[in-house]
Subunit: 373 residues, 2 copies
Amino acid sequence: MPVLEQDPETIEKLTHLGKKLVNELNNKMSPYFERPVRSLSNVKYDPQSGILTLGDKKSKRTFLNIGHARTFMQSVLIASKCKELIKNQRSASIRELYYQLKHTVPGLNENTLEGQEESNPVVVDLETALDALREYLHLTADRSGNLFGPLTLEDQGDRIDCLRLGKSGLSIPSIVDDYKFVDHDANYILVVETGAMGDRLAEEKFHIKNKAIVISSQGQPSRGVRRLTHLLHTKLEIPVYIFTDGDPWGYYIYSVLKAGSMNLAFESKRLATPSARLIGMTMEDIEKYDLRRVTEKLKGIPPKKSGGPSEDYKRALELKKYAWFSHNLWQKELDKMVAMGVRIEQQALASKRLEFVSETYLPEKIKKQEFLP
Amino acid sequence: MPVLEQDPETIEKLTHLGKKLVNELNNKMSPYFERPVRSLSNVKYDPQSGILTLGDKKSKRTFLNIGHARTFMQSVLIASKCKELIKNQRSASIRELYYQLKHTVPGLNENTLEGQEESNPVVVDLETALDALREYLHLTADRSGNLFGPLTLEDQGDRIDCLRLGKSGLSIPSIVDDYKFVDHDANYILVVETGAMGDRLAEEKFHIKNKAIVISSQGQPSRGVRRLTHLLHTKLEIPVYIFTDGDPWGYYIYSVLKAGSMNLAFESKRLATPSARLIGMTMEDIEKYDLRRVTEKLKGIPPKKSGGPSEDYKRALELKKYAWFSHNLWQKELDKMVAMGVRIEQQALASKRLEFVSETYLPEKIKKQEFLP
């Protein structure tokens, strides 16, 4: 059985691009690509859909332009290789892609690619130009994260019951678009920031007792984790709750899962889950659950002090300025963090009891629907 | 069903320690711990067993010593908490352990622990003093890595067929001592350095076609990956091959899996697999498979040049001096790397064909038993 199914839509996009270039050549025009500008000036937050998107600015890459010719050649090479991958139902990492395409240009003493720093941006160019996720081009990213819960899925013809994977769980690959969700009995999806918290919940059998699909992102979520969260939410139609450390970095992880990230803004509609809610940790938790003595000091210098704001303080104030943190409750939350000068980790809940997080903290918050927007 | 089984041997060790301390108190002696010195001066390579071990140097920690009293108190706290964990058949991350034990000492304005930098070394002290793996104390480390292959194991009562996990695979947890290996049909265990190479082999169905248990360590191997490799090798009695990038960092990963690491030398006998062999990448591969143009330059300054050796060069020459790299073939390999001034990545094999690594490179080397020792 082939690894990935052929995707006629993406093949069609790539074929269309190729035909367009050939037509231009036949008509003695300089062939060109057009693609949305990806710089921050063209990244916008759309409050309607709740995601980061690219604006209307476009730029052209023209073959008959001495500054563009090399990347133009690279773009055609990569587009052609991606078409081959899809046709052959194979995938490749962007590192493998680089090695596959690195060769001497016949007749010239020049390499097609000098390093992956040349091929990576061209891959992203293609993704935006074609409006096709990297995964649709059959290019893989690094995997991380794992999953537990009342979900049966089909992966390469194997039927996997994610409730019967002990405390190990399913490793989440880079490409999850080919998963078939066969059956589920889940009330919601819970994405947790740290691997250790995922392990805690698995040990407590939280996923079984609460009928929850628990995804542990192990830090900044991989594309696989983001896409899987999006797909599960869309197809299973159950809510997504995110559980991070109570610090600017955890809250940014939340926003990436919810609204998308700035450098992949063009893919938010396929990677983000705008209806996701933050379950914790919050600054309010510190008082409510009497956690003051297990907080940690924010790193860096507070605002209004000489040299400040720096490090954690600076990051918290940056978040405050992002449009997707403009909600009143988020402004208050971030102000409170800066004023208190502390952060609170997920694992600090262990100071109550190991099982406190699974028996009390999470179920109570979910029952009362006590979330940050 | 409980998460982990009670381990009478470790409980006995902890009980014995407690009784010893109480006896000393009853006899009006100053209670003390004794443990092997863990500094590099006491780390030895044992060519007989092929692993790094600790030498005979011991040091004492005495309660009635102003410099030891605080860590003594912390050691007793942690030992007591570990006993509780084992009795309750629970585990905790070392971060949770820290949070569980951080409190004010009654009657004093002092915390038991000020930071995890205080509790972590005490955990390692206990491990060495008791000659008990951290996993036996039910303390978990960060997980990473995944597994594919013809192996059926039992984890928490769930029977998992690792040949039927699609391209996702089993996520490898921190504690694998409780795995029951029910059945297998594997010829060998192949541990690969990068996640992307693990994904490549999964896509090629290498694990199915070659009856191989493929473990992807995703960089520096976690304790779970090291322990699992050791356990699989010991219990299944099949060879272990390691597949890393051809650079000093990849070779060090190999040596950690094979002989143990310097800072966990006291645990080598439970974490290392001395009979493991390196399958590649080697400097010889570059010529044999015509990979010269997909090598990368070593970083840093070569020896004998001003400012050299630095970075990759320096690391390669450091490896040369380690006793566990003293084999003639390793000395040649490292000399060759420094002389050629290049490194070669696993994924560079994609420059031939994506399936070259799975159809040609690995099977040929295994058939010819072409390994570095």
